[in-house]
């Protein structure tokens, strides 16, 4: 129980990234027998991507990524249901970076290229992959 708490704390410190590397980390007495997900592991990317998503995307796409955010009613076509997306990672990255207009989609999908870092963009694409249908094209 206690161990789990320490692990969770250590893991979240780690996942939150190098930028916030805190001296506190040194004070945590790490159990030696647990495997921490590496910063570049799929788990770490998906976790960080989910944070990006809940900061910037839920307004339109919804907490559940099903397109039912609080602002969704403003838009026709509606924000995409990202759990049902049949788009490739490459396409998603492009529309996230450039916004809907240059992709001949809704101009109300904002461009995020100037707002998010490269890492945040690739993390949120990993998160979207993790919730996409199994049979969606990669």
């Amino acid at each position: 129980m206690k161990r789990h708490g320490v692990r969770a704390a250590a893991v979240s410190l780690m996942l939150l990234g190098a930028a916030t590397a805190s001296p506190m980390a040194a004070a945590v007495d790490l159990p030696s027998d647990v495997d921490f997900p590496h910063r570049d592991s799929p788990e770490a990317r998906v976790y960080r991507g989910s944070i990006v998503f809940s900061n910037y995307c839920v307004l339109c796409h919804g907490q559940n990524a099903d397109g039912k955010g609080r602002a969704a009613k403003l838009y026709t076509p509606p924000p995409a249901n990202l759990r049902k997306s049949d788009k490739t990672d490459e396409y998603k990255e492009l529309i996230i970076r450039r916004g809907g207009a240059p992709m001949a989609r809704s101009e109300f999908m904002p461009p995020w290229g100037a707002e998010l870092t490269e890492e945040q963009i690739s993390d949120v694409v990993s998160f979207l992959r993790s919730i996409a249908p199994e049979d969606a094209p990669r």
Partner: protein, 106 residues
């Protein structure tokens, strides 16, 4: 029949009221609105000028006014007319911390 007599006064009224309606300019700068709150009269417009080197958006889900002016780059501006009294919260879809309260009075 009355039209002849009404036309001028009506046109005059329309002219006066549009002349009375003010335009309030708010800048989007440093990922914030240049003011936190704004008092306007019914019929006034608020113009949002993007002064940052990246896109901003303007939208509101308030009862008195629901709109989205889209996303636009530095130097561009968009306008919205508040045509009902009450309170509106104006937000930016790109920067969740940007909030402007607009108090619209008769």
């Amino acid at each position: 029949m009355l039209n002849k007599y009404l036309a001028f006064p009506l046109a005059f009224c329309a002219l006066v009221s549009s002349a009375l309606a003010a335009n309030h300019v708010v800048e989007q700068k440093g990922k914030a609105f240049s003011v936190k709150s704004l008092n306007v009269k019914v019929g006034d417009s608020v113009e949002f000028v993007n002064a940052d080197p990246f896109n901003h958006n303007v939208f509101s889900l308030s009862d008195i006014k629901t709109f989205d002016l889209g996303s636009y780059p530095q130097g561009q501006s968009k306008k919205v007319v508040f045509d009902k009294a009450g309170q509106a919260e104006v937000e930016c879809a790109i920067h969740p911390d940007m909030i402007l309260k607009v108090e619209v009075s008769e």
